[in-house]
Symmetry: C2
Amino acid sequence: MNKHVNLTSSIEEVSRDTGIGKDTLRVWERRYGFPQPRRGKKGERLYPKEQLDRLRSISRLLDQGCRPGSIVSMSPEQLDILAEQLKTVKDHRDNPKVDEMVGALGEGRTQEVLQSLRVMLKQQGPQLFTYDIAAPLLEQIGHAWANGQLSIYMEHLITNHLGNMLNEATNEFSHIEDDLKILLTTLPGERHGMGLLMVELLLRAEGVETINLGVETPVDQLVEACIGLNPQVLALSFSAIHKRASVIAVLRELSDKIPVSVILLAGGEGISKLRSIPERIRVVKKLDTLGIEVRSIRQQLNKT
Amino acid sequence: MNKHVNLTSSIEEVSRDTGIGKDTLRVWERRYGFPQPRRGKKGERLYPKEQLDRLRSISRLLDQGCRPGSIVSMSPEQLDILAEQLKTVKDHRDNPKVDEMVGALGEGRTQEVLQSLRVMLKQQGPQLFTYDIAAPLLEQIGHAWANGQLSIYMEHLITNHLGNMLNEATNEFSHIEDDLKILLTTLPGERHGMGLLMVELLLRAEGVETINLGVETPVDQLVEACIGLNPQVLALSFSAIHKRASVIAVLRELSDKIPVSVILLAGGEGISKLRSIPERIRVVKKLDTLGIEVRSIRQQLNKT
DNA sequence: TAGTTTATTTTGTCTAGGACAAATAGATAT
DNA sequence: ATATCTATTTGTCCTAGACAAAATAAACTA
């Protein structure tokens, strides 16, 4: 009765699950010989699970700066070795508490971790919690997943929960009557909203009024929002970005279209690697300099 | 100096902002003569803003059940008329409070609305708030946007804020020691997480332990999650869906792969229109029957 | 040695037009 | 009204070629 359980994924599913474009998948096949999916009777590509997993590893390595030409045709084992090497290079100042949590997650003690996160937020306060716990935890989980220590769904789970916690903490800062109003969002293509939530929390802790539009606001909508809500600052968050080209293009576009009275602020992992950013845009390279930036903006605005 | 401000969008941007696939955009052009983008020097399509807006209207009408063949070649005016007609057909039991809020949003009294939402949640409690305020408000905002009464970014803003509120309300139900654990998520392709948040709140109010994985969990990950977290129930949320075909296919796949001990629950606007749903899957057609369903599941589990 | 410019390779995204099966609508019969 | 069959509609996939932007390597300059 069990007529061939579907062990393969279509190109659309693979594209969505890995974040690699459909065209890219096809052209890799042509150029590097991987992936090499089976074919359905229509000739459609059917990707077995092993290839899907391997593509996920590749996608992650690309985010870390590897180049397709050198890794796409690597065997899974080679990919693992490479991931391990990159990990040891990066990890310097890691928080023992974070390591402990990752370990606990690997052993299935999920609820325990979620619980202790709440405690830490209370104990350490929003700023320290964000810098020392939330941000490094997310990074570590990424690594742990690449090494096979953790299932990917754990990343989803933790991300979601952490998001809730940050939200809640944000809302605890009641609306202080303040002159500074900051609009928050990400540009189309940037689906990660965690950075946004962390920034929002930090800003609120500084007494700023924040409006969060969520992720992927189309440019024309963003212009409308700036006119309709008229914030003094528009803050954009970038995580690891696949296509640096278009990001700069969009930043230019914004710089042209957004009212000149609005200060443009960009931050996140992804932005610090870019060069030739339009002058008008202020870049915040690390989370813990956000407070300084805000004070600087306040000064600038008070002068006028 | 202002060298031709970019008033056009690439096919990728249009696809992302409208939710219409790239291939679909191209084939519409061929078949229906719309959109008819300008071309760059490479021959790439460049969509002017008017066409982008028109595509957004079309996309929305499709979600409401219209067919491409009959609406894609319509003029913007005709589209507006059609949207208006559909609106009057649907709106029966609308809440006056909701109408009032939509009006206020149109006049730019954003903060006021956000404030009053908080008050209503406190006053009415989670259940009533979800049924009578949150759900209809989101629907109404969709309509108001289609009629040009509201900017789209307002929808983002409200969605985001409402999400925060629901989260917060959810977290207020402290972890009751309960035998029932429910895993929540959406399938790949379904990016709307609001339904999920509403369901989570309602479930918590019933004393259920919930785990929310967020949106778009890949199928293989979902299987892993069911094994790793072993919930008694897996609940999936569907909004208006573009491709009903694949949804049923994925449901079948799940039905095959998820351990038989797990009860599958599906709900949301999108699911009620479908027929030929696998037997194993329980369908919750309306939010306010969720409580009943939960009690029924509890009974079933207690028998065993 | 270190920084800047130029050439070369790599890489993602686009295009065209054809194909096909799943979904829907319309017609017919129970 | 409900079910069955046929015709049309519709989204997604295919191939194979093209091209510009990004990244790298090479050459040159201070």
